[in-house]
Amino acid sequence: MQHSMTYIAVEALVKIALLAFIMMTAAAYLVLLERWVAAWVQDRRGPNRVGVPLTKIKLFGLGQPLADGLKFIFKEEFTPKHVDRWLYTLAPLSILAAALASFAVIPMGSSLPPIHIPALGLETDRIELVEAPSLDVGLVYVFALSSMAVYGVILGGWASNNKYSLLGGLRSSAQLIAYEIPLGLGILGVVLASGSLRLETICTDQATSGVWNIVWQPLGFLVFFVAALAESARLPFDLPECEQELIGGYHTEYAGMRLLLYLVAEFLHMVVAAFLIVILYFGGWHLWGLTGSESDPGWGHALARVAVLSLKTLAVIVLVMLVRWSWPRFRFDQLMTLAWKVMLPLGLVNLVLVAVLYEPELGGRMVAEYGAWTRAALGWGVMLAACAVAALTAPLATDNRPRLDWGVR
C-alpha cells in the first residue's frame, strides 16, 4: 500500500519518540540494575528503600532512578571558570546524540501486524519495528556513530582545561580508535555469512536456518564481545575514567545535568553493544519453537519476538555487569597489546575461516559431504587453536605484573 508523505513522517516520528522515551527510561533502570548486581556480587543489599514517593511503600527500591534523576536535576548547574564554555556544553550533548541516533537501525523485534482502530480512524500498514527500515548500510551506520562518540570524550577532556581530563580524553580516543578494528573484524564474519549489512536480514537468516552464528563462529563472537566492551569503556577497559589514576577522567569537571548526559550515554552505548551482540551472534528475536520464522508474523509471534529479543539483550547486559566485578582493569600497554597483537589476528583468522567455509569448492563441498555439524566443529577447533597460539605468543598481554622484558634486554 502506498501512503502519503504525512503517514511516513508521522510513523517515523512516533517511533523516534517512543524509542527515545524507552531508552532513556531503560538507561535509568539499568543504573539501578547495575547497583543491584554490584551489591549482589559484593554480598551487600544495594538500593532497596526508595519506592512510591510520599508513601511508605518500598517496592524493592524501584523508585531509586527517580530519586537519582531528581538529585542530578536539582544540583547546581556549575560551570568552572577555566573551561572552554561552548565545547564544555557541546561535548555531553554530542555524545548523547550519537548514542541515541545509533538506535535508528536496530530492530526491536521483527514487525507488528496492521492496526485497525475504526473509532479513532486509525489504519496502519504492517509496522516494521525499526526506525529506518530502508537503510541498507545499517551496521556501518552503527559503526559510524560509535566513532562519532569519540568527539564527546575528547572534547569534554579538552574543554575542561584540566590535566586529568585531558589525559582521560587522550587515552579514550586511542582506545576507541584501536578497538574499532577488531570490532569491524568481528562484524565482517557475520556480514560475509549472511551477505547483507542490514540487521533485520541478519536476524531473519539465523531464524530461517535455525542456527545462530555463535554455533559456528565462536571466534568472531569472542573478538566482537571484547571489542564491544572496550568501545563502551566498561571494565576491564574503563581506562578513560579510571578513578585511581585520573580522578574521573574526561568528566572530572562535570556535575549535574551534564554529567548525567555522559552517564546516560555510557549506558546507552552498552545497550547498543548488547543489542548488536544478540542480533549478530545469538539469533536476534529467534528462539526455537517459540517465535516461528515466517516473515509476517501474527500478534502472538510478533510479541514473542519482541520479548525474546529484550530478554536476550537483558541477559547480555547482566553478563557485562558481572564482567565489571570479575576482572581488574588493564594497563594501557596491555590494552594496546590486546587490541593489536591478539584481537586483530584472531579477527583475521575468523574472517578467513568464514570465507573458506563459504567457498563452494572447499567449505561448501565439505558441508555437503559430511553434514552441517562439520562447520561448527571446524569453527570451535579453529577458535581453540587460535586462542592457544595467541596465549603462547603474547602471554604478557593481560598479565598485571611488571613487564620484565622492558627492563632486561
Binding site: L90, V140, A144, S147, V150, W406, R409
Partner: protein
C-alpha cells in the same frame, strides 16, 4: 534617463556573476583570521550577499519550499565549511569541519547514496579528523603563538575560493537549464554538455544507486569494474604501513645501540623506553587510519 536604466539593467544581467565573485572574495578575505581583528562582521555580511547572488542563478533554487530539507542541509554544510576556515582557534575549526562533513554525509543520504554518506562519517569524521583533533589538543592551541592562529596568504586564498565557486555555479547554471526528471537526458529538451553529468542523470544509473540492495551493487561494481583501482589503493596503503613499521624498527635499533653503550639506561621506565612505546603507538594509529581508509 530610461536608456541609462536599461543599460544599467543589461550590465547587471551580464556582469552580476563577477560582482558576486568580488563580493565573495572580499568577504572571505575579511573573514579569514588575520592579525587585525576588525571587519569580520562586515566580511560575513559581504560574503553572504555574494553567495546569495550566486545562488539566485541556480535553476534548482526555484523549488525552495519543496526541497526544504536539502536547502537547510546545504546551508548548514556551507556555513560550517566557512566557519572552518575563518575561526581562530584550531580546535573550533576542527569541530566546524566535522559538522561540515556530517552535513555532506546527510546530503549523500538525501540523494540515496547511503554507503557514501556512512563512509564519509566513518573515514573522515570518525578517523582522520579525530587524529587531527588529537594532535591539535596536544599542541596547545591556546598559546601565544599568533602564527598558528592567523591564516597565511589570505589575499591568494580568498580570490581562489571565489573563482572556484563562480566557475562551478556558472557551469551548473548553464549546463542544467532545467532539472526535470520527466525529461530524459540526451533529448533535445535537455542539452547536457558534460558526458559525466549525462551519465550521472541517466535513468539506469539512478536506479542502480537507489536500488534496495545497493550495498551489493556497490560491492559488485568495486570488485569487478574498479578492481584494479581497489588493488592499487590497497597496495599503496600497505606500502605506507610497512614504511611506518620500518621507521619505528630503525629507531628502536638505533636506541638499542645507544642503550648498550650506556648500560645504566636499561631500567624498565627510562624515558627512552617510554618514547619507544610511544612511537610504537603512533605507528599503530597510522595503521588504524590506513585500515579504516581501505
Amino acid at each position: 534617463m530610461t536608456n541609462l536604466l536599461e543599460r544599467l539593467t543589461a550590465w547587471w544581467h551580464a556582469y552580476n556573476v563577477y560582482v558576486a565573485l568580488v563580493l565573495v572574495a572580499v568577504g572571505l578575505y575579511l573573514l579569514l583570521p588575520r592579525r587585525r581583528s576588525w571587519g569580520r562582521a562586515a566580511g560575513a555580511v559581504t560574503s553572504v550577499i555574494g553567495m546569495g547572488l550566486l545562488a539566485a542563478r541556480s535553476p534548482a533554487f526555484a523549488g525552495f519550499f519543496q526541497q526544504g530539507v536539502f536547502w537547510s542541509l546545504a546551508a548548514v554544510t556551507i556555513s560550517a565549511a566557512a566557519a572552518t576556515v575563518t575561526f581562530r582557534n584550531p580546535v573550533y575549526c576542527a569541530i566546524w569541519f566535522a559538522l561540515a562533513l556530517l552535513g555532506t554525509a546527510a546530503l549523500f543520504f538525501y540523494q540515496g547514496a547511503q554507503f557514501l554518506g556512512v563512509a564519509t562519517v566513518v573515514v573522515y569524521a570518525g578517523a582522520i579528523l579525530v587524529t587531527f583533533l588529537f594532535v591539535l589538543m596536544l599542541a596547545n592551541p591556546k598559546g601565544q603563538a599568533y602564527y598558528d592562529r592567523i591564516s597565511w596568504e589570505a589575499w591568494l586564498a580568498a580570490p581562489a575560493a571565489a573563482v572556484l565557486l563562480g566557475v562551478m555555479t556558472v557551469a551548473l547554471a548553464r549546463g542544467l537549464p532545467a532539472i526535470d526528471p520527466a525529461v530524459p537526458a540526451g533529448s533535445p529538451d535537455f542539452p547536457v554538455p558534460a558526458v559525466s553529468v549525462a551519465r550521472a542523470m541517466s535513468q539506469p544509473r539512478v536506479e542502480e544507486i537507489l536500488a534496495t540492495d545497493h550495498m551489493a551493487h556497490l560491492g559488485g561494481q568495486l570488485f569487478s569494474r574498479y578492481l584494479l583501482a581497489i588493488e592499487i589503493a590497497g597496495t599503496l596503503l600497505l606500502v605506507a604501513l610497512v614504511g611506518a613499521v620500518a621507521i619505528v624498527v630503525h629507531e628502536q635499533r638505533s636506541r638499542a645501540t645507544v642503550d648498550a653503550a650506556h648500560p645504566t639506561a636499561g631500567h624498565a621506565l627510562t624515558p627512552a623506553a617510554l618514547a619507544a612505546g610511544r612511537t610504537q603507538h603512533d605507528s599503530q594509529f597510522a595503521g588504524a587510519g590506513a585500515n579504516i581508509h581501505e
